[in-house]
Every structure is written in C-alpha cells, then in structure tokens.
Amino acid sequence: MSERVNVLKKKSPKSEAVLPTLGPWGMLRWAWTQLTSMRTALFLLLLLAVAAVPGSLFPQRPANPAIVTQYIKDHPDYGKLLDSLQLYDVYSSAWFSAIYLLLFISLIGCVVPRAIAHYKAMRSQPPRTPARLSRLPEYGTLVIPADAGIPASAAISSAAGLLKKRGYRVDIRDRDGARPSLGAERGLLKEVGNLVFHTALIGVLISVAIGGLFGYSGQRILVEGDTFVNTLVGYDQFTPGTNFQSSQLQPYSVQLDKFDITFDRESKGKFGQPIDFTAQVTTKENPDAPAKKEVLKVNDPLSLGGTSVYLTGNGYAPVVTVRDAAGNIAMQGPVVAKLQGENYYSSVVIKVPDAKPEQLAFAGFFLPTAFVTDKGVSFSGDPALINPQLSLNSYYGDLGLDAGAPQNVFELDVKNLTPLNARNLATKGITLAPGSTYKLPNGKGSISFDGVKRYVGVDIHHNPGQLYALVFALTAVAGLVTSLYVNRRRLWVRTGTHADGRTMVEYGLLARGEDHRLAGEAAAIRKLLASEWHLDPADAAESAPTASQSASPSQSAPSGTGDNDRADTDAAGDQQASPEDHEADFIQSTAGSPESKKDQ
C-alpha cells in the first residue's frame, strides 16, 4: 500500500518543491541535499551525455586547430557564434566542466555520508527482528516434531551456526525467552563495491588532471639516417602541459636506420594499400648509454626515458643537390615530401637560402610511380618506387627568411620571387628522374635528383597520470562488478514452542537492492535447516500455524506462500522486490539504514 501512496505523492512534485521559510543556513543545507540526491545525480549524468555530443558534431581545436579556423571561415553566418559558445573546445568549455564538476561534487556528497553510514552498519548488529516475518518477500515455516527433542533455544542456536557457515553475520536475540530469534545479514560487500566504484571514478578524473598538468607531447619527422634527441630543440612541434618544466626531458636519442612498408599485392579491392610499416631504429637512453637496435611499429611504441614514441606517419623524401650560379653546392639532402593524394602523390618545397647571388626555390610534386595522362595531367599509379619523378617549378629572388618571421617549410610564398621554370613559361617545368640533373635557365645553377629516402613521423608522449588512471579504472570495474553481483540480504529466524511440544520455526528474507536470487537463497536456507533437523523440506510447512499460537493468529503465513516458494525456486526471482521496496514501512524502523538517503 505504501507504494501506492507514494505514487500519488510523486505525481505532484510541485508540492515537494515548495520551500518552507528557511534561514540562509537552511537554504544551504537544502541546496546541498538537492545536489547530492540521486535524482540530481541522474539528471547530471544525462546532461553530461548530452553535453558530450556537440564535440563530435563540430571540429575541435585540440584535435586540429587548422580545421576549426577553416570551418569558421566557411560558415561566416554562425561560425563565430559557435566559437563564443565554446563549441570548438567542448571538453574544456566552461559548461562542460561545470557539469562534470557538479557531478563529482554530487558524487563526493553522496559517497562520504554513505561510506560513514555503511561503516557504522558494518560494525553494528544485524537489524532487530521484525514483528511479522510473514510480511517479508520470502517467508517460510518449518515444524520440528516434539519427539525430536529440539527446544526453541537449541533450534535458534543451530540455525545461527548454519547461517554463520553460510557467510552471514548473525545475532541471536532473547535466546532463552519464549520466542528466541536471530537476525542475520550478508553481502555488505555490495555497498563497499558501490563506494569503491564511485570513489575510483574520482581517482580517474584526478589522474587525467595530473596528465594534463605534468605531461607533454610533441612531434618530429625523421628521414632515414636522422637522429632525434629528446630536447626542446629536437621537436618540430611541442605541446607542454600546464606545469611542464624542460628539465623533465631526458636526453635520449632515436636514430631512424631504415623504414620498410609492405603493400597489399593480393586483394583486388585493396591493391596497393599499405599493410605493414616497420621502422628499424637505434636508441640510446642517454648520450653515454650503449646503443640499442629496436623496431618501431604502429601499435607498438618505443618506451624511452619515461616517454612513449609512436609511429604515426610516413612518406618519401627525395634527395636533391642544388648548385648555385657559381657551381657551389648550396643545398644537399633529403626533402620531406608532404602527402597530398593517392599513392603517395606528394608536394615538395625546396628553399635554398644559401644560393648566391640570388636565393633559389623550387615547388612541385613528387610521384613514386609517375603516369601522365593524354591531357598532360600527371598522377601516381602506385605507392611503391616504380617510376619516381620530381616535377618542379623554380624561382629566384628573396625568400624572406632573413626577416626572422617563422615560415612553414611545406609552403612557398612566391610573392617576392621571380619564376624561372613553370609550365606556362617558355622554359617549361622541370621533370627529374633519379640520377638526372637539370641546369637552370640563365645560368642560375642546377638541381639534381640523387635518390629517394623514406621518412617517418613520430609522436612523443609523456603522461604521468595514465598509470594511475588505469589502476583507478580497474579498481572501478572491480567495485562495479562487486556491487552488481554481490547480493545484500537480511534474514531473520524466530522459533517458538507449540502447546503440543512441537518446535515452530519461521524465517523471512529481505533483499536490499536488486536481487533476483532471493527466492533461491530462501529455498537453500530451507533445505539447510530441514536437513539439520532431519525434516522433509517439502512438507514441513503444510501445517503452518506459524511460530507461536500464543501470538496473534493474523500473523499466520498466507496459506500457500510456502508452497509457492518451493514450487518455483528459481523462477521466483523474477518477482523480486524493486529497489525502493525496502523503504517501505517497518524496514524504515531499522534506523540508520544507509540507503534511506538515496531516494530523496
């Protein structure tokens, strides 16, 4: 019945929300109670789910700032507006942070009182025996014949022994009275699991924060033969954490000896798709340490000096030699070609600031397997080096490098340069095969294509929080599983002596929280007790005029309940109590129950 009444109450939430006149202190208390209520937790959880979604709909700055800038340009109508709403930085935005911080405050406000209450519950005796066991969800009776010679007190003692063996905490009441009883409880670990789970989530959050504060990451491109040294200047790009100190960097080194790619030559659909990347590297933990040969692959990072080194990209680096007008070598070495399209179709920019008297520059494409269509459009027909080709335009003039402004090595600003070779000029473009040299017009110098090397892009990461995050996450899972699969049960047994000398035993079980195996447990207990007293568990209940006839007759078991409990031992679970059911009437009298808080 009590449930019904609650339904009515629930239908008018407004009446609950009316604020009585509270002082400021009362208001605070009220706000805190609201914040730490289960309903708020649920609301914040769902809000968190919704708030995470926009981050997958709009480009995010941390992932790729360039795309965000482009996106704002492409959407002049609302691009800026989205930015002011922090929709390009969802996961560090004020509103997203607010939601998860509130959630975690709510979590702490929830966990702490529950932990205290549960600690008390673990140290206190099982709750007092309810007046009417027959009202419990699982209930049954057993009758010990008079000639068995087991009085009520002995029956309660032996029941206590059995239950202790079964893992229950047992407390006997009124052993030598007319109606001795016992209260038993097990599964206190369920609540511990729940608390561990929620606490560990806080641990995960803190670990992530530590990573953001003290971690760092960076990128570097390494051509075969190149060596990376872990110092700030060694990086092409570096992202420090908020609290990063450059002294954190341990000066290890990684040299790329060789990089191999296997292309798929079997399946038709994926012909030419790379199926293996292997980088042979030589590493040194510090400048004086012995060199070590290692293999770096995708999904298989190197572990060095507290960082991890990942293979994240690759491409070709044509090796060129540029001579200036005087015939001096102005530039010699590999040039990293940036991937542009299918089959390693890549762009090349060569800047030669050392060329004299005028600086030289080249821009164009590198094709590992060059094909030219009838219309003169060239493309790469295969990712492997079958017919490598460099096609370049050339320029001379002032590169503007001396001004000191940083320039993108992959882009050439031709504003202040004069074209020397280009498709639309009489000189045409430059087309080079490996081993060939081209003499620039007007005696400006020459360029030779000496060969091709490969390069890799590596990411270097240091995250001091991630081990903690893993440990906390594993702890959380352990807590979760415990919380979901340990069942918390209370059990009471009461005995009494019938006028004719028979010893009457009644027992009742109550689950706290979801427990679909309560009926199974009841049946098992019944069997246990029956075999202890050499009874037939099937029929002992038939004559069930509950424990004591001296008590009110209305307490007798509803006829047939005992039957049903047996008839469908394991099916019965489906009719389990709902989690809030144990809030109902008499249970509330088992004061201090930790869960009483959660339904506020």
């Binding site: 798709q273 999904n299 899972v477 008839a567």
Partner: protein
C-alpha cells in the same frame, strides 16, 4: 603476412546468403507463432473466464504450466494490495490497476518454458539454430580466408555482429523462454546481413596496420557481445512500453487491441530481466571503453582524446549508467528506465552506423 584465400571468401559470402535465407524462413515462423499463439491464448482465456465466471478469481495464465509459477505471478499481483512489502508491484510499471488486471492477458512472468507445445515456435527455433550454424560457417570461412579475426571493417562488424546477436539470443533461450523476441532478433539479423552484403560489401583483405593488434580481438569482441546484449534489452524495453500501455488500458477497462502481446510477459517481468541483462552488458561496455582507451594509448599515444568514436562510446556508457541510476531512483523506474535503455541502444546504433561512416576521426576503419 598470411596469404588471402579468395575462395574461402567466396564460400563465406555464399554461407551468409544461405544464413539470411534460413533466417527469413525462421522469421516467418516466429511471426506465425505470435499470431497463432495469441489467438489460442485468447480462446483459453475466454474459456477460463467462463468457467470461473468471477473476476475476483485470478485467471490463471494459460501458458504457464508450472502451476506454481504462473499462479505465483497472479497471486503476487493481487497480494500487494494486502501488503507484503517486498512484493509490491513497481508503480510505474502500471500493472496494478485492478486485482488481476493484466494477469490473464500476459504470458508467464518467469519466462520459463511451459509444457505447452507451440509448433511454429519450435520450428522457428530449429530454423534459427540451422541458420546460426550456417552463419557460423560463414564467419569462420571469412576468418580463414583473411587469416585473422573476422571483424576488421563494416562488412565484418555487421556479419559477425549479427551472428553474435543470434548466438546470444539462442544461448539465453536455453534458460529462458524469450521466443516472443524471435521476430525482433531474427528480423534485425536479417537486416544486418542484407545491409552488409549490399551497402558494406568488402572483399576479404588484410588489416590496415593500425588495426593489427591483439587489442582488436579483445576490444571489438567485447563491444560486439555487449551490443548483442543491448539489442536484446532494447527489444525487451520496447515491448515493456507497449505491454505497460496495454496493461494500463486493460486495467482501465479498455479493449485489448494488441492481442499478440499476450505472448509477452508483463511489463515488470520484462523490466527486471532486461535490467539484469543490461547490468551484464554495462560491465561489458565498461571494458570496451577501458580496453579501447588502453589500445588508443598504444596506437596513438593518448588514452583519451575525444575522438568522435570515443565521444559516442562515452555517451553510451553514461546513458546506461544513467539507466542503472534510474532503476534506483524513485519515479524513474519502469517506463522512464525503459526509455533510457532504448535511447542507449539508439546511441549504440548511431555509433555503429552514422559515426563509422560519416564522421571523420582516427577510427575511420569502416573499410569503405
């Protein structure tokens, strides 16, 4: 690298087609069972009502054999009026309209097998087993053809995922009579197979290097299994909503327009079983998330980066965490929890289809 075996791949596709065909027949049998059994149940009910003649006498559920089992469902629905605490019906599940409201109109809440013979259902299950065997052959030949686990692109996620969904369904069937879900699960499996063959077909091939990791085996297999469980609970939650509505209507004296729902247990039983399955699936999804993070750390150097796929995996996790909370929050059990379970599943589907195909991220391995 293991050589690709194209012949095996062709066998695999043949098996997939055969499996889809067998499932189609099974689907028809399941649908036939729904139609036929509900007709039969109505007849039995009418007869029982005639015999007992009084409304106060709980009408025994005809499907339930275990007299005890079915009587119990009814008794309990009644009993809560007189008050045993633990047996009170969940109010939001809307069963409690009248004394025996909904009892006679729904199947046995224990979802145990009864002794009654439902020939079409048996045929349907037998066909499903046959289809699953052929389907298994399809999955295995695909794996042999490619020399690796058969879940490396959308085509394989779908075909293997459909197989796991059917297998999980059959496994649950061993212990519970969920045959009323047959049309749904088999229907879904057919859709997945057809979509795989038409929209996502990919020939057998090697994995891209980013997927060459044992984490692919661990992370994806757990994800697929959890998703299969979420599929079951989605179906049950949807039926729960319908059944809850129907029970309310009947309790209010309305006409029972959804006769086929007689084969389906009452809303509360559906809710309880789907909660238990969701709890398992949630643990699975937690592992999916964690192992995904560990793999991301190995492959990309950070365990969490809010990549679109990560975002949606997180959203799904939070929605189901919300579902578990809802089950412990007053006023949020029953219908609202069912909606959360449905929303969670829609997110799973969204994550699998739309995110895989249309959102660019590090996880773009759809193989398309």
């Amino acid at each position: 690298m293991f050589p690709i075996n194209e012949t095996m791949g062709q066998y695999s596709e043949l098996f997939m087609l055969l499996a889809a065909g067998t499932y189609t027949v099974a689907f028809i049998a399941f649908a036939w069972d729904l139609a036929k059994s509900s007709k039969m149940l109505r007849a039995v009910d009418l007869k029982a009502a005639e015999l007992s003649g009084q409304a106060t006498e709980p009408v025994r559920t005809p499907v339930g054999v275990g007299a005890g089992a079915s009587a119990r469902g009814v008794d309990r629905a009644d009993a809560h009026l007189s008050g045993p605490v633990g047996r009170a019906e969940r109010p939001t599940s809307a069963v409690s309209g009248g004394a025996s409201a909904g009892a006679g109109q729904t199947a046995d809440g224990s979802m145990r097998y009864g002794g009654e013979r439902r020939a079409p259902a048996r045929v349907a299950v037998a066909l499903t087993v046959l289809g699953a065997a052929i389907h298994a052959a399809g999955v295995i030949t695909r794996a042999l053809g490619a020399g690796r686990v058969p879940w490396g692109n959308m085509y394989e996620f779908l075909t293997t995922g459909a197989f796991v969904a059917v297998a999980v369904f059959l496994l649950v069937l061993i212990r519970r009579d969920l045959r009323f879900l047959g049309t749904f699960v088999i229907g879904l499996a057919i859709i997945m197979l057809v979509a795989a063959s038409i929209a996502f077909w990919t020939p057998v091939g090697h994995l891209v290097p980013a997927l060459q990791s044992y984490w692919l085996i661990i992370h994806v297999s757990i994800a697929v299994m959890s998703s299969a469980l979420f599929t079951l609970t989605f179906a049950m939650s949807a039926l729960q909503l319908v059944q809850s509505h129907r029970q309310k209507t009947i309790a209010a004296g309305g006409a029972d327009k959804l006769g086929f729902m007689r084969l389906v247990p009452n809303a509360l039983s559906l809710e309880n079983l789907s909660y238990r399955i969701n709890a398992i699936a949630f643990v699975g999804w937690t592992f999916t998330l964690m192992f995904g993070a560990i793999w991301a750390e190995k492959a990309w150097g950070r365990f969490w980066g809010w990549d679109t796929k990560e975002v949606w995996t997180f959203v799904i996790w939070v929605v189901y965490a919300g579902y578990l909370h809802a089950r412990a929050t007053r006023g949020w059990t029953g219908t609202r929890a069912a909606w959360l379970s449905i929303v969670g599943y829609l997110c799973v589907v969204f994550n699998f289809t739309i995110v895989n195909q249309f959102f660019n991220g590090l996880h773009s391995y759809s193989g398309l």
